[in-house]
Symmetry: C2
Subunit: 184 residues, 2 copies
C-alpha cells in the first residue's frame, strides 16, 4: 500500500492524489485503507516516512568532507530515478497545501539531524572553524544540488559533487560561514 502511494504521488502529485485510486492500484478495499490511515495526509506521511527511513543514511567515514560528499551523492542518486525526482519536486512545490508542507517539514527536520550533528562534531573537533553556521552550510550544499538539477537540468557527476563540497567547505574553513565574521 505504501509502495502504491509513492508511485501515485510521483505520478500525480499531492493535490490530485486520491486514496481510492491507491487502494485500487494496490488491490485493497478502501475501507481497510481508511481504517489504518484516516486521511490523505496520514497515508502520504507514512509512505514518505518509509521512503526517507530507507534512504539518505548519513555515513561516518572519519572525515566530514567525505561524509558530506557521500550524502550528496546519495541525494543525487535519488534525483536520478524518476520517482525520486517527482517526489522531491512535489516537496519543493508544496506551496498550495499547508498539510503537505507540515509533513515535508517534519521529515526534513528528522533527516537533517544526523548531518547537523556530524557538522557540529566537526566544529567541536576543529575540522571547521568555531562559529560556523551549520544550517547555512547544509542548505547551501543541498540548495546547490537542487538548483543544478531542477533549474540547470544537470545531474552532477561524482567529480562535480566533490567540487560543490569543496567550494562550500573551503568557504566554511576560511570562516565565510560564521555567524559573526571577524574583520578581514
Amino acid at each position: 500500500m505504501l509502495e502504491a502511494t509513492l508511485e501515485e504521488l510521483a505520478r500525480v502529485g499531492y493535490g490530485a492524489f486520491s486514496m481510492e485510486t491507491v487502494a485500487e492500484r494496490a488491490g485493497v478495499h478502501k475501507t481497510s485503507v481508511y481504517r489504518r490511515w484516516p486521511t490523505k495526509a496520514d497515508l502520504t506521511g507514512a509512505a514518505l516516512q518509509r521512503e526517507a527511513d530507507s534512504t539518505l543514511c548519513f555515513p561516518d567515514t572519519g572525515s566530514i568532507r567525505s561524509d558530506v560528499v557521500s550524502m550528496m551523492r546519495e541525494f543525487r542518486n535519488i534525483l536520478a530515478t524518476h520517482r525520486g525526482q517527482s517526489l522531491v519536486r512535489m516537496m519543493l512545490a508544496e506551496g498550495p497545501s499547508p498539510e503537505l508542507a507540515a509533513l515535508v517539514d517534519s521529515l526534513r527536520k528528522k533527516k537533517e539531524k544526523e548531518p547537523k550533528q556530524a557538522l557540529a562534531r566537526a566544529v567541536a573537533q576543529g575540522e571547521l572553524p568555531a562559529g560556523t553556521d551549520i544550517e547555512l552550510v547544509l542548505c547551501t550544499l543541498i540548495g546547490a544540488l537542487q538548483n543544478l538539477y531542477f533549474v540547470h537540468h544537470e545531474l552532477p557527476t561524482d567529480r562535480r559533487i566533490e567540487q560543490m563540497v569543496n567550494l562550500v567547505f573551503d568557504g566554511a574553513c576560511s570562516g565565510g560561514g560564521c555567524r559573526v565574521r571577524a574583520a578581514k
Copy 2:
C-alpha cells in the same frame, strides 16, 4: 494584458492557466488576445519576459562581492512578494510542462548573462582565482537562497545574505570552485 497574465499565473500556475480567464480579467475580447499571442506559451513567455526585464538588473558597484550581494537582495525582495514567490515556485515546479520548461530556460539564460560576465571579469582581474567555475558559483548562491526560502521558509535578512555570499566567495577565493583542483 501581461499584468493580468502574471496575476493569473501566480494564482493558478501554468497548468490550470486559461487565456479566456485572462482576457476576461483584463476586459479584452479573447480574439484580440489570440491575434497577438496565438498560444498560452506565447502569452506566458511575453508576460514573464516583461517581468524579468524590469527586475534583477545586475549592478556594477566596483566589487564583485557587493554586486552579487545586491543581486541576491533583489532576488530576496522578489521572493518577499506573494506574486514573485508564486511565479518562482511555478518555474521551479515546471516539471510536467515541456513548453513552460523551455520558456523558463530561455529566460534564465538571458538573466544569467550579466552576472556571468561580471564573474568572468572578476576572474580576469584576479578578484577570483583562474579556473573558477562561474556557473557553479552562481548556482550555489541562487540555490542556497531558494533552499533557505522554499525549504526552510526563511526569508533571509541583508546580514544573512552577506553571510551566504561570504561562504561561497571565500570558498571560491581559496580555489574550492575551480574545475581542476590543485593538490592541497
